[in-house]
Amino acid sequence: MTVTPGETISPAVEGTFDARKRHRGAFRLGAGADRASRRRPKLVITACALWLGLLIVVAVFANVLPISDPSKVIGIPNVNPAWGSQFLGTDAIGRSMVARLAFGARVSFEISILVTLVAMVVGGAIGLLSAFFRGPVTFVADTIANTILSVPGLLLMLAIVVVFHPTIPVLILAIALLYLPGFMRVTRATAISLIEREYVVAARSLGASQFRIIARELLPNTAVALVTYAALALPGAMIAEGGLSYLGFGVQAPTPSWGQMIAQGQQQLNTAPWQVIIPCIVFAITIFALYSVGDWLRARLDVRGTASD
């Protein structure tokens, strides 16, 4: 319960309805109420974590699990999941929806995790260097970052896949490019605030090398900010991959992906709507779960202000 400065509420009336009514202003002023409401209920977080865990297990063990080959025709096309003969039904040419979703999860997670790692390592390194050396390094890094940010992400990726055939490594590098500026700026902002700290000054006065200061003093202390931003970048990368696959410029058939399933399913929207609705819902739930778990992680790490780009 939050009280405005200089205001006291006697414990006797604190809990009563009248007191609350009288001090409604105090409730409204509370910044504490804001924090509490932003945090999602434990149940939701747990459900999200379970969902992600399930997806990751399915994605990793998709080969071993008793599901069919995602590109094999297993029966008649357009089996409605409501008939009960085939869990989640089959698609327009009779391939198992479950298998395609499972192998699609594999592609989604593989790409988004690698994108986040690549962008984190490269962006973090550039950010640290530009915080440490300032001047020309910062200018070059900033100009490139501004250039990347001046073109909408999806359009920039299109400009890359028009030239290079969209294999998984190309997609990873193209999407990672979008998240470089963010990682760079977060790292730099944090590192600049650290450079004046006593322990960095002390290390410097003890004659530590530049490499040592960057690697041993700055890097470990920017880790929290990096991880926090990574929690935002991961679902973003997954959406980017989905969007490209949806347009047909992502991973190419026969490798299934969720975006591809949505694009193929939408042609059956009138006759077999589950073929598009199911991947849409799976996608949305997964992104929601990633954001929720990311928020929870951020609250646990308790970073103030550094993560807001």
């Binding site: 910044a31 490139i144 999806l154 299109l158 679902p235 989905g242 347009l247 939408q266 819902i281 949305a284």
Partner: protein
């Protein structure tokens, strides 16, 4: 102030030079001539020579870049590899569609976000606030390509209220035009409005604990008056920032939305250009979008001073 504007202009020019250089160099990044990518095995050596000659692909990169800039400054963005129309005419024909969709989406997002954020922010932690937070997180987690099929299924297939695709120009029939625009705009609003609501709600909650709000309350001013008069104006600074940044989302979203609803806009032009390996078209789209984006962001920066007197004095 002058220093700031000059600095800003330098940044803009630098960014645009880099963007346009990148788009020009796409031809060099492509393995072989673009003619191979377009015509494949049907290509004869004679045709290849003509193609390279016609599109000036025999020049080295820097000469091509210089020529492109020289022509672009005169409004000539080149010729499409495929249709042989000028890029400028293609862009001009399709820009109104995208602009209409984007402006409508921005407008409706603001119209929805401002009252909803106020409603939630004045009741922090209550049921309505938690509902708003939950719904916005859910909408934020649904990308345009997943939201569009669901919207079409609900409102076009099941309810049969709207058309699921197609377009009627505004000049031809206003009513039909708006009817076709509803679902595409709704798809974009679902992506943009939640961000506005979240930012605005956070701002209003923290502004409500400021001293000037307490003073206004103690003067007995009605709550709605305080919200509109004392809170909305300072809160609008960050709202304008997000609105400016949302342009990037709106354009990215319009690529998806125009492809899904088959609207003849710039987004569809871009995705078709990628499909057809039509580099001049794609270059034109990228550079135009970058110009608009950069201008919008600079206007956003300038608007801070207009909205918040404190920024003006500190600069």
């Amino acid at each position: 102030m002058l220093r700031f504007v000059l600095r800003r202009l330098l940044d803009i020019v630098l960014v645009l030079v880099l963007v346009s250089f990148f788009t020009t160099s796409l031809v060099n990044l492509m393995p072989g001539s673009p003619a191979f990518a377009i015509y494949g095995s049907a290509l004869t050596p004679q045709f290849l020579a003509n193609f390279n000659q016609q599109f000036g692909l025999n020049h080295p990169l820097f000469v091509r870049y210089g020529l492109w800039v020289w022509h672009a400054l005169q409004g000539d963005l080149g010729i499409s590899f495929q249709t042989h129309f000028t890029v400028a005419s293609q862009l001009g024909a399709r820009l109104p569609v995208t602009a209409e969709i984007a402006v409508l989406a921005l407008l409706f997002s603001l119209l929805i976000a401002i009252p909803v954020a106020m409603l939630a922010a004045t009741r922090p932690g209550r049921l309505i606030d938690r509902m708003v937070t939950g719904l916005t997180s859910l909408a934020q987690a649904t990308p345009a390509f997943a939201a569009a099929p669901i919207l079409v299924y609900l409102f076009a297939v099941q309810a049969k209220w709207f058309q699921s695709s197609g377009w009627v120009p505004l000049t031809q029939n206003v009513g039909q035009n708006l009817l076709h625009a509803i679902l595409p705009v709704a798809t974009l609003v679902l992506g943009v409005a939640p961000i506005f609501i979240r930012i605005l709600r956070g701002d209003i909650v923290s502004l409500l604990s400021e001293n000037f709000v307490m003073v206004a309350r103690s003067r007995g001013l009605p709550e709605w008056y305080i919200l509109l008069r004392h809170v909305l104006r300072p809160a609008s600074a960050s709202l304008i920032t997000v609105a400016g940044l949302s342009f990037g989302y709106l354009f990215g979203g319009s690529i998806i939305v125009e492809t899904f609803y088959s609207l003849p806009g710039v987004g569809l032009l871009a995705s078709q250009a990628v499909y057809n390996k039509d580099l001049p078209i794609l270059a034109g789209v990228v550079v135009c979008v970058a110009v608009v984006f950069v201008i919008i962001n600079s206007l956003v920066d300038l608007s801070y001073g207009l909205l918040d007197p404190r920024v003006r004095t500190s600069r």
